[in-house]
């Protein structure tokens, strides 16, 4: 881990001026007919309209995604072209598993602070409903002679022969499994719950709180302002998140069966669900924001990415990335007014929180004498998180940045710490500071 402390940028500063997302809906439901590009189109067009941003000022789109469309993986550029923002709006797409959205934003922020850009849109989207079924490589190779060149009847026979037995060539269902370990993410989280002694009760309690806080944020209208309504191709209008349950309770969650292990503690209720959706923010150099008449909401005091061994505790990355971001910001956890963590699984968040509060972890893994600190539940995920709201992989980062930037501005608080775990043993974190 880097020991260097980065001072807040003195020269150019990238500021968040606005953010918006689509409703987050369960996979294979309302957004079934919208792929990740269409979802991106929906959120970016709404964001441009809401901010009355003149497309001539937009220089680039940086987009994050996990399930990228095979034939058009540069989603960022496709969005710019679809929306006719102008050929000058260049774009690139980044992927860092569940941290892809935050990656897109920090990439754009870095480009602005480097002087490469003044105005960019950054965000991400994912449509689990439109994940492409993968044909086994065996089929692809067998079919090659038919696809490229004049096939003779003998070729067809040869292809057929190569495709036997049939069970080996059927398309494989996509699943969230680690390539190196083959372990499904929920199994890894189950393992973490077990190893860090996170009880079922604690997980259900955390999940219930996520739902209640998200529901309260929606009911008060606070979150609603961050959600754009979306017209689907089949003529419906989607206006609200569909996963959040205001009426859930610890008792109800306690009745659900474990899904990843026979005597496990992880259930559909205390895990995030497969979700379709998109989110985006407008980033500008502070100077340009002010000259165009926008109010800067927040800027990045620091950010950090980290990796842990995916075969050990897959989703422990934030326990390294969050302290690293704090160290770079020259701030302590105690100085954070808000902490927002992506909730892949309640067990994962609680494991990370336990490590942040552990002096033994600090000594053994961070080389520090004292624990990073306890996170006050009153400051953590004040509007719930991915368990209640859903988790379109690439969109979560921009959702979190939007909610925290707005909150810093409106509640007159100063610092927010973000933490995101991601497949591959990755962790991401950032410290946002209110822009005065």
């Amino acid at each position: 881990m880097s020991k260097q402390i980065v001072q807040p940028p003195k020269g150019r500063r990238a500021v968040v001026v606005a953010g918006l997302r689509t409703p987050f809906v369960k996979a294979f439901a309302e957004f079934l007919k919208m792929d990740t590009i269409a979802l991106g189109d929906a959120t970016v067009s709404a964001l441009v309209a809401q901010t009355q941003l003149d497309a001539r000022h937009i220089e680039a789109i940086v987009w994050g995604g996990v399930i990228l469309p095979g034939l058009a993986p540069n989603v960022a550029r496709e969005i710019a072209l679809d929306l006719r923002l102008g050929a000058h709006v260049e774009g690139h797409t980044v992927t860092r598993a569940c941290a892809s959205g935050l990656q897109a934003i920090t990439t754009a922020a870095a480009a602005i602070e480097r002087g490469e850009l003044d105005v960019a849109i950054a965000g991400g989207s994912d449509s689990t409903s439109n994940a492409e079924l993968k044909l086994p490589q065996k089929v692809v190779h067998a079919l090659a002679p038919l696809a490229f060149g004049k096939a003779t009847p003998k070729d067809y026979l040869g292809v057929l022969a190569q495709l036997m037995p049939l069970s080996e060539v059927l398309p494989k269902m996509p699943k969230i499994a680690e390539r190196t370990t083959g372990q499904v993410m929920g199994e890894s989280a189950e393992d973490m719950a077990n190893r860090n002694e996170i009880s079922r009760g604690a997980q259900d309690e955390f999940a219930a709180r996520s739902h209640h806080r998200a529901a309260a944020g929606i009911a008060s209208g606070r979150l609603r302002r961050e959600i754009a309504k979306v017209e689907t191709p089949d003529g419906k209008t989607v206006t609200a998140d569909t996963i959040v349950r205001a009426d859930t309770s610890v008792e109800r969650l306690a009745k659900l069966r474990p899904v990843f292990a026979k005597n496990g503690t992880l259930t559909a209720g205390n895990s995030s669900a497969l979700t379709d959706g998109a989110a985006a923010v407008v980033l500008m150099s502070e100077e340009r924001a002010r000259s165009l008449g926008y109010t800067p909401l927040a800027f990045f005091r620091s950010w950090a990415y980290a990796g842990v061994d995916p075969a050990d505790q897959l989703l422990m990355g934030p326990a390294l990335a969050m302290p690293a971001a704090l160290e770079r910001a020259g701030l302590s956890l105690g100085e954070m007014d808000l902490v927002d963590m992506h909730e892949a699984f309640a067990a994962q968040v609680l494991s990370v929180l336990k490590m942040l509060g552990s002096a033994a972890f600090a000594r053994a893994r961070l080389g520090r004498d004292a624990a990073v600190g306890e996170v006050d539940p009153a400051r953590l995920n004040i509007y719930g998180g991915s368990i209640a709201l859903g988790h379109p992989f690439g969109a979560t980062g921009a959702r979190m940045v939007t909610t925290m930037a707005n909150e810093l501005r409106e509640s007159d608080r100063r610092y927010a710490l973000l933490g995101i775990c991601a497949a591959g043993g990755l962790g991401a974190a950032a410290v946002l500071e209110r822009a005065d």
Binding site: D312, Q313, K354, A360
Partner: protein, 476 residues
């Protein structure tokens, strides 16, 4: 018993399936690929200690970081394991009064005997192991840790700790049929932190064919200045010389050292150019051709290592020959060749390399032989050369401590190689069976032991002979 039934895997499987009484040895659990960060990943290990044990903290740290889930027997151990357990998400369990819960079987049993002072206290061994030994999984591990008997003023204490060796050697014989092994570490005062590497090796699948081994862990070798070396790709940036690298143990060792990141200089006779070149190409190493039977080889090696690699960090003297004949019938050339290649050239080359070619912090590993040490019909020349190696590493090790260089010997037992394949089948099968594990080892088993001794954190081990023999019944 025909050769077919003994060596044909399909035939063995069939006999096993039919439940016929052919004693088929346990298939040993072996490690695949290069060293892991956590060689004991998810392994259950019971850890016990006699009162006054000095190793609670280092055991807690070592086992937890290596990925083990510990069951501990004392409050002191519980306290020591709490911190690492929390940091690495491996909370230790307190072993219940009535032993392990039903159905729980464990990979390893570790006992810290450093606190023992009087023979009557050896009872602690019985009390700890007696109820647990049946709960050991197949290919399990037992490690007892004591102090070097010679380190005590008190003769009673010396007797107590010397007793540990007899205990594990006997236990190793009892456990061998199921592929399990038992070892004792004798740790000098002040060398406690150095038990990490030997523990990881002896408790993991990498020591599959090492059985009943005492290992002395000392503090004399200067520790590396850059502190603790990495467990994964621990030999990155190192230059290793392996003699006799064209085939067998040398080839397996070259592969393993290369997998740990070393650039391996593969040495063999000019006649084996094609074979050794293939090995070198496969592992991204280089070739050095020299005939160790002639004294000029020394200059060739020193010059080659200096000019092309700027020196060498690891030297594995693996090349060896047999020229068997009973003494009365032995020709003088047979005597000379065996002594020259197996011992004299090792002494000469090592001495030359120590003059500015072998880097500080280096590793020298010489191949001895269990058969050679024990003495074998028709091998007076070979036995003299291989026993000579033992004397050589014990003495030389004392001269190189201040430079951080370790010097050790490996004594292979029955290893399945070209040499042993040439032995008549009945003798061959007897050779395999006459060991705790009831089978022969593979060249890779020897390579793993060499790779362990060559590792950056193995500086606690020097002047030792590590037997890789499955616990041969005849021998050292």
């Amino acid at each position: 018993m025909s050769d077919f039934l003994l060596e044909n895997q399909a035939a063995r499987k069939l006999i096993q399936t039919l439940g016929l009484p052919l004693p088929v040895p346990t298939r040993l659990r072996r490690a695949k690929g290069p060293q892991d960060e956590r060689p004991l990943h998810d392994d259950d290990v019971v850890v016990g200690a006699a009162p006054g044990g000095a190793l609670a903290d280092v055991l807690a740290r070592t086992l937890t970081i290596a990925g083990a889930s510990a069951w501990v027997t004392t409050g002191e151990l519980s306290a020591a394991f709490a911190g690492p357990g929390e940091a690495f998400g491996r909370p230790a369990h307190r072993l219940p009064e009535d032993g392990l819960p039903d159905g729980v079987r464990v990979r390893a049993l570790v006992f810290d005997a450093t606190g023992l002072g009087d023979p009557s206290e050896l009872r602690a061994l019985y009390d700890f192991f007696h109820p647990l030994v049946k709960r050991l999984l197949g290919c399990g591990r037992v490690v007892v840790i004591g102090r070097p008997p010679s380190s005590f003023e008190s003769a009673a204490a010396a007797a107590t700790h010397a007793g540990l060796e007899g205990f594990v050697r006997s236990l190793a014989k009892e456990l061998g049929k199921r592929g399990s092994t038992a070892h004792v570490l004798f740790v000098e005062h002040g060398a406690e932190d150095r038990i990490e590497a030997p523990l990881r090796f002896l408790l993991s699948a990498r020591s599959a064919f090492v059985s009943g081994q005492p290992v002395h862990v000392g503090k004399d070798v200067r520790a590396p200045e850059d502190g603790h070396g990495p467990w994964v790709r621990g030999l990155a940036g190192k230059i290793a010389l392996v003699t006799g690298a064209a085939r067998g143990i040398g080839e397996a060792t070259a592969e393993l050292l290369a997998a740990e990141g070393a650039h391996v200089v593969c040495l063999d006779r000019p006649a084996d150019d094609a074979l050794v070149s293939q090995v070198a190409r496969r592992i991204g190493g280089s070739v050095l051709l020299a005939d160790l039977g002639v004294p000029e080889a020394t200059a060739t090696i020193v010059e080659g290592l200096r000019s092309r690699h700027g020196g060498v960090d690891i030297v594995v003297h693996n090349a060896g020959i047999t020229r068997d004949k009973t003494l009365a019938k032995m020709k003088p050339e047979a005597w000379d060749q065996a002594i020259e290649v197996n011992l004299a050239s090792v002494v000469r080359i090592t001495a030359a390399l120590l003059e500015g070619t072998l880097q500080d912090g280096g590793r020298v590993v010489c191949l001895s032989s269990v058969a050679g040490i024990a003495g074998n019909m028709g091998q007076t020349n070979y036995g003299a050369s291989k026993a000579g190696i033992v004397g050589y590493v014990r003495r030389l090790a004392k001269h190189t401590t201040s430079r951080g260089i370790t010097v050790n010997a490996i004594a292979p037992g029955f290893i399945e190689t070209r040499l042993t394949a040439a032995i008549p089948v009945v003798i061959r099968e007897a050779g395999r069976r006459l060991s705790n594990l009831g089978q022969g080892g593979l060249p890779g088993d020897v390579g793993e032991a060499i790779s362990f001794l060559a590792g950056p954190n193995a500086h606690g081990i020097t002047g030792q002979v590590l037997r890789v023999c499955g616990g041969a019944l005849i021998g050292a």
